[in-house]
Subunit: 344 residues, 2 copies
Amino acid sequence: MSQQSAPTRGAATLHDVAREAGVSLATASRVLNGSTRKVAESYRERVEAAAEKLGYTANLSAQATARGTAAIVALLVADIADPYFAQLASGVARGADEAGLVVTIAITERDPQREVRLVRALRGQRPRGLILAASRTEGADAVGLQNELDAFTAMGGRVVMLGPSPADTRSVAIDNRSGAAALGAELGGLGYRDAVVVAASEGIRTSDDRLAGFTEGFTAAGGTVREVRRAGFTRDAGYAAAQDLLAGDLPAGTLIFGISDVVAIGIMSAIRDAGRHVGADVAVAGFDDISTGRDVRPGLTTVRVPLEDLGYRALHAMLEPEWDATQPSLPLEVIVRGSTPPRT
Amino acid sequence: MSQQSAPTRGAATLHDVAREAGVSLATASRVLNGSTRKVAESYRERVEAAAEKLGYTANLSAQATARGTAAIVALLVADIADPYFAQLASGVARGADEAGLVVTIAITERDPQREVRLVRALRGQRPRGLILAASRTEGADAVGLQNELDAFTAMGGRVVMLGPSPADTRSVAIDNRSGAAALGAELGGLGYRDAVVVAASEGIRTSDDRLAGFTEGFTAAGGTVREVRRAGFTRDAGYAAAQDLLAGDLPAGTLIFGISDVVAIGIMSAIRDAGRHVGADVAVAGFDDISTGRDVRPGLTTVRVPLEDLGYRALHAMLEPEWDATQPSLPLEVIVRGSTPPRT
DNA sequence: TTGTAAGCGTTATCAT
DNA sequence: ATGATAACGCTTACAA
């Protein structure tokens, strides 16, 4: 029945239901849409029957206009095809579903300007909250974003950031630094002595923290970070960086730490495409433990971040009436797999 | 600034803008929100200045109530963490962005009943359209869904299905059958003689078509499908099925065709965890060409489906005023990688 | 407990 | 070209 778009109006309205049930609009509203008010059982039944009969669904937009806020949570991610964000989104969606919220998703494409525009546009939905994954929190772009976010909170919206965030912003963070330090220590303990880090550009907190942590842990365990390569957070950036690295002379036994699993997986592919062997020849480690890491061979050594959970918690951080900034960080766990065999 | 929710109404309204600019509500509306009507340059400027000054953003809900339809497209996927759906979603998001639409996403968890509930809930948003990926189109559950969808189209909404769909429904489909046939033929040509297919349950069109096509092509090329294992569309289902298969006696040189790449990747992992070798020992092929397939080793032989593109096209199929059912299928291409080396 | 009616922020019709 | 003003579908004091 995809006939040429009919007069648009077709759905049964609350009005229709009320008439059908022979009650007032108010009564119908009270029984159908969450209200604490009581209504007589007989009426309730009639209204429900009428609603069912007419196939009534509340018009969320109208509800939102009347209430001033919509049962929506908006999620901003860099790239939904990236498993990292996809897993995060999955957790957000689960939490939202439980809370009766609809999830609206927007893709920033890692473009800060675009992100600002998106926030502004999403603000128009009057969502209950905004969840931002991977946003710049420093630098020139950050202030434009912050203005937009302030406008949003000023009108009663809640903002949650995943990862590092300004002091007065709700956030769900992990301790990138100590996680990376633990990874560095572990790898040092395994006998690795030379490492190259493929990181994102300086000024990106997540990257900076992981780099600093790793260096700290690895150095303490007797290793040396020979070089830091600046790439992005994508698989292809990792691939390219590794390709470049391999073109020079990369001593066998070197460890490459990719700032995220996605990057690390790109690195692994580059190594193999260059005819070298991941593990025995060049070791690789990542961070996040995205599910793909289980399926590549050798398995990718990494730091496990409960991504789904993170998304779920972000949603709840948004729901919470009061925000307690002193949230415990989520547990991080080093997972050693075949990509970093013990060096003896 | 997450102080206790301030005066709640905080955002500047069109009314405010109009007053600030000293024009009528109507004029302000005409300037700010797409209207073909003309308004004098001097007014236009004043309104725009006022809007800028006040940080005005149109209230989409109010707009939607007034217009009767929201600038929203709702997307239903089984699981957003699954790369197949994530890539699809990515294309939808891109198209929506270009068209000035917001994407709302809902997760069905492969539960038909849940899907019906979700469609009903989403209907409440009065979205411009609904894009369904991987829905049952037959069986008892399908009728409940169809009712819900009919109600939606009756009120002017558009429905697009990805994959097989009822005759009068807009859809973007690929020719699973011939793609799988081409794959089967190619693999037969490579020298494979015995295959096991890990499919989804019977009655799921996509699975049925791929199975039928593969069997057809493989048989014609001189091979035999020894067995069909029923699993699901997930990585873990593939893993489990393969584990089971390997527990019996699976002759070396057997080819396992996973009904989708996600399944095939699970199969590959199971094979390796069982201490056997993918490729030389047991060959594996999949379908979809999700990006992960590039990063596993050996690379996964598959049929390339332009997923991102598919999502993008679905969005456009929704936008199209008239729907021409005779759309050409998207091109499918067999990609042979290391998981199915030539058998000599 | 139930109903009346005044909003909510926009759009769109109809005069001017 | 501009401006009143009646919808849009729903919520929510305030009455009854």
